[in-house]
Structure formats: structure tokens, C-alpha cells
């Protein structure tokens, strides 16, 4: 974890209201892993006040850059969408724990919903360089919310939409269920997206008696483990775990799903 004052390299729309921002990554800074996140200070002044968390969507050591995908929806993200190359970018990163490698013999099934696509693209690219590349399933409400990003050919990708306007019709979790049945494989699930999708992914994992890794979200204060703000309810000894420190990636069986 470090305080990094770097700069924007590129900030471009990749779908309706979605942007991909590429930032310069200093060589001294620790490399981010899929599932880890950064928090950015969007302005110098007091509004918006808190740093905003975003999961990494990619990291490229060769050209010293890291990427995030974000959705423009409030004041902070609107300000971010106006950032231009060379603008300063003040971040804390890399934060939290990334996704673990799949257990041996299991086929990674990556399930992304909406803005959850960022870390799944990163993980898919990373797994594509291993002997267990897996399948990436990206779900969106409709065609215009699907990302226009170029993935390596080795990433097997399935696109789907709720309204059937592009790709297959159905939720990403339902498509995952079909794929797993067809392939008759022992899967390991990786999920990032809206809470309902994560809960559905957990149920699918239970059905299949397969491990599932979910990336959780909660409003954050410090993002470094100090304020106890960003907790989620978990099973086990402690009632709550911090998304920023114990997470954001959790074994889905540890989460109290509501």
C-alpha cells in the first residue's frame, strides 16, 4: 500500500456511462493484482470529500500503466470523466486482497455484472497466461452497457444481456450455470457485480459444491483498515469483516447473504 501521486494517461468511454482510465504506474510502486483496488482523491477541495474506491481492471508492466473502469453516476465520477491526459491522479494503492488462483483441476468461471467487469477483465487476462484460462462471462442490462475493450484471443468470452439486445439473453449467473452443465467441468467461480448477482453466484456454487470468490462492496472511509466503516457481515468468530482489509475478495461461504 502506498500514497501515489501519478498522472492520467488516457480516459475513454468504453460503454454507455462507462469509462476506462489508464494511469501511469511508477516503477517503485507495488504491482496491483486482480481483485485489488485503489482509492482516488477526485478534487483538492472538500466536495466530494472522501476518496472513491475503484478495482483495477488491468496492469501493464511493460508500459508502466494500470487501468480502472468506472461508471459515471454521481458528482465524483462525473469529475473523473472530465480528467485528461497529464492531469494529476492522487491514489492510495494497491489496497485489499486479490483473487486467489483456482484450485488444481478446477475450471475458473469468471462472472461479471455491470461495473463488476473491471476486475474480471484483469483476472481473465491474468489467467489467460496460465494453464487454466477459464471462461469470462460478462452480463449487462442491454447492449450499450457492454464494454468495448479488446481482450487477448486466449480469453474465452461470453457476452449476455438481460434484454437480449446483444449476446445471449439472460443473467450472467444463469449463463454460467448452462456453460458449466455443458462442459461438465468442476468449476471455481469468481464474481464481481451487484449484490444480488453475487448472492445468486453463491447459490450456484452451493448447488455445484464448488468454491466461489466474490468481490464485495461497501461505502468506505479510510480504506486502510482504521475506521471500521466498510464492513460486511460474515460467519465465524467475528460478526463483521472489513471490505478494505479482509476483502474485498471473500470466499462466498463466509458472507452472511441477506
Amino acid at each position: 500500500m502506498a500514497h501515489i501521486v501519478t498522472s492520467v494517461l488516457e480516459n475513454r468511454p468504453v460503454a454507455q456511462d462507462y469509462y476506462e482510465l489508464r494511469l501511469a504506474w511508477p516503477s517503485w510502486a507495488p504491482a496491483p493484482q486482480p481483485g485489488q483496488f485503489l482509492t482516488v482523491r477526485t478534487v483538492d477541495g472538500p466536495v466530494p470529500l472522501l476518496r472513491r474506491p475503484f478495482a483495477f481492471s488491468g496492469f501493464d508492466r511493460a508500459d508502466s500503466s494500470a487501468r480502472i473502469i468506472y461508471q459515471r453516476r454521481g458528482h465524483a465520477t462525473t469529475l473523473m470523466s472530465a480528467k485528461r491526459p497529464f492531469d494529476p491522479f492522487d491514489i492510495l494503492a494497491p489496497l485489499g486482497n486479490g483473487f486467489p488462483d483456482p484450485s488444481s483441476g478446477r475450471r475458473p468461471i469468471l462472472i461479471a455484472g455491470g461495473i463488476g467487469m473491471g476486475p474480471m477483465l484483469f483476472l481473465a487476462e491474468r489467467l489467460a497466461q496460465t494453464p487454466y484460462p477459464g471462461i469470462l462471462i460478462i452480463g449487462a442490462r442491454s447492449a450499450q452497457y457492454l464494454p468495448r475493450v479488446v481482450l487477448s484471443h486466449s480469453v474465452q468470452t461470453i457476452l449476455c444481456t438481460d434484454d437480449g439486445s446483444a449476446g445471449r439473453k439472460g443473467s450472467a449467473v444463469d449463463i454460467a450455470r448452462e456453460e458449466i452443465r455443458q462442459e461438465a467441468c468442476a468449476p471455481e467461480l469468481y464474481l464481481c457485480g451487484p449484490h444480488g448477482m453475487l448472492a445468486a453466484g453463491h447459490e450456484l456454487a452451493e448447488e455445484l459444491d464448488a468454491p466461489a470468490w466474490v468481490s464485495m462492496e461497501q461505502t468506505m472511509g479510510c480504506a486502510v483498515g482504521a475506521c471500521m466503516g466498510c464492513v460486511v457481515r460474515v460467519h465465524g468468530g467475528e460478526e463483521y469483516a472489513r471490505v478494505c482489509t479482509e476483502g474485498p475478495v471473500f470466499d462466498s461461504r463466509t458472507i452472511v447473504w441477506t
Partner: protein, 301 residues
Amino acid sequence: MDLSVRIGPGTLPNPVGVASGTFGYGSEYEKLIDLSIIGALYTKAVTPEARPGNATPRIIETAAGMINSIGLANNGLAGFKTAKIPYLRTLPCPAVVNVAGAKGDDYARVIEELADEDCIWGWEVNLSCPNVKTGGLALGTNPAEVEQLTARLRKLSSKPLIIKLTPNVTDITAIARAAEAGGADAVSCINTLVGMVIDTKALRPVLPGKTGGLSGPAIFPVGLAAVYRVAHAIKIPVVGLGGITEADHAVQYLLAGAYAIQIGTANFIDPTVHQKVLDGIREFAALHDLQTISDFHQFID
């Protein structure tokens, strides 16, 4: 200039502290901040029993501020001793333990059980948390109770005893006088202001506990006025906090009568804020040829 601050029997190396609940126990920030420049680290509240904290969400941002409802989540005395004390022993700055509870006995127990720990510089008694049903705010709004509890805690430890005041009262100076009469070495103010946000789509308050504590830049003028009034009502030192995000804010607190300050919410936003505030205080002192912190108090009557 001499930046040190005397509080009762103790001395702090400089007036720039970090506020309870916003800095954990220090370890969380050691990779981001040089802890040796911190004048005092006020820990997250310690209660006798472990507390899981409140339901979620616990935080909501507001205009130039945030509302929190953490609910004094902490490991309790036993957890504090095993998990936090060993780290505090290695801390390169003074550690002040923020003490909380549901009733007087809880506060007494925490101080009694930790009284002999050399790594603890002093106590900040949290009579002002708005996020728990009993104790905290409820205890801190009645002058007679504040005086009685302060006197009781005073007998338990010779370390510096700071009473943390709530702004959620009609007259904060009455509470400050009660703390002084009870034998406190200093008071700190302010804790958060009770605040609320309603989600008009869901038709319910955003925080499950309905209200929470407002902090950050939005409360700066409120904290400053409280410190000004309290500093002119009592003789013991006042530690000022509330909304400090830059050196000028800290200088204003010192001019208003504070001997030291704490940075809270700004820790979340700017890891360089301590150094900037410390530098700014030094620059101001040099500009006006001030030798000690009490020299800041000569300008405003």
C-alpha cells in the same frame, strides 16, 4: 520555537495529534505516514467488552462532511491487551487511549486495567459518542455526572486525563467546567455533531441507526467556536478538533485558545496533512515571532 505541549503531568512533543476512530491504533497507517511526526495518537475507543459495531451502512458522505455510525467497534480490553498493546509499545509517538463504555464502571475498568501500561501516555475519556444507545453522549451531557465521573477516574491513574466533550449540548462550557472541577488535566472538543440523511427513494434513513455523527470540513466553524468558548471558560488546556484539513485551520484553533489539535476525517483523504499542518504552525509562529504554543493565545480575547 518550542512546539511541546504540557498537559497535566505529561508533555507532548508537538501539538498535532490524530483523532480517535480515524487512525486505528497506528499500524494501519504506518506504510503511508511517518508516525514519528505525530504529536499524539488517540486510539480507537476501548470498551471493557468487545463490540462488533453497528449495522451497515456505517458511513455516508454529506456536503463537505461525512456521517458515521461505527458504534464503537473494538476488540474490548482483552483484545486490546493482546492485539494492540504490543504494537503501541513500538510506536514512535505518544499513545492516548480513548476510553468508552455504557456506564461509569466501564470507564473505570478500562483505566484501572491499563493504568500500569508504560506505553500509554494518557487517557481521552469519550463522554461524547453519539452512536451508542447508552453511555457516551448520554453521560456527557449532564455536568454533575461529568464532574463525578471525572473525579472517580482521576483517582485511578496519574497519567494525563483528557475529557472529550460533545458539541450536542446547549452550553458546552458548563460541561467543560464540570470536567475541570472533577480534576481533568485537559478537555478535547469537539466530537461529532448528530446528523441524519434520508433516502427519499427508499423512504428511510440511510443509516440503520437513523442518526450518526457528522465530521469533516463542514463542522470546522462549529468546533472552532466551541474551542474558543471553552478555552475562555476554564484554565486547563483545551485540545481542539473538528474539520481540520489544512494548516490554516489548525492555526485558527490555536489562536482561539487551544494548546493542541487533532486531525480526524482528513486522515482518510490526505496522508500528507500532518506534515503540512506541522509546517504551517511553525511558519506562522516564525512570522509572528511566537516562542511557545501559549503565545498563540495573545491575539484574540
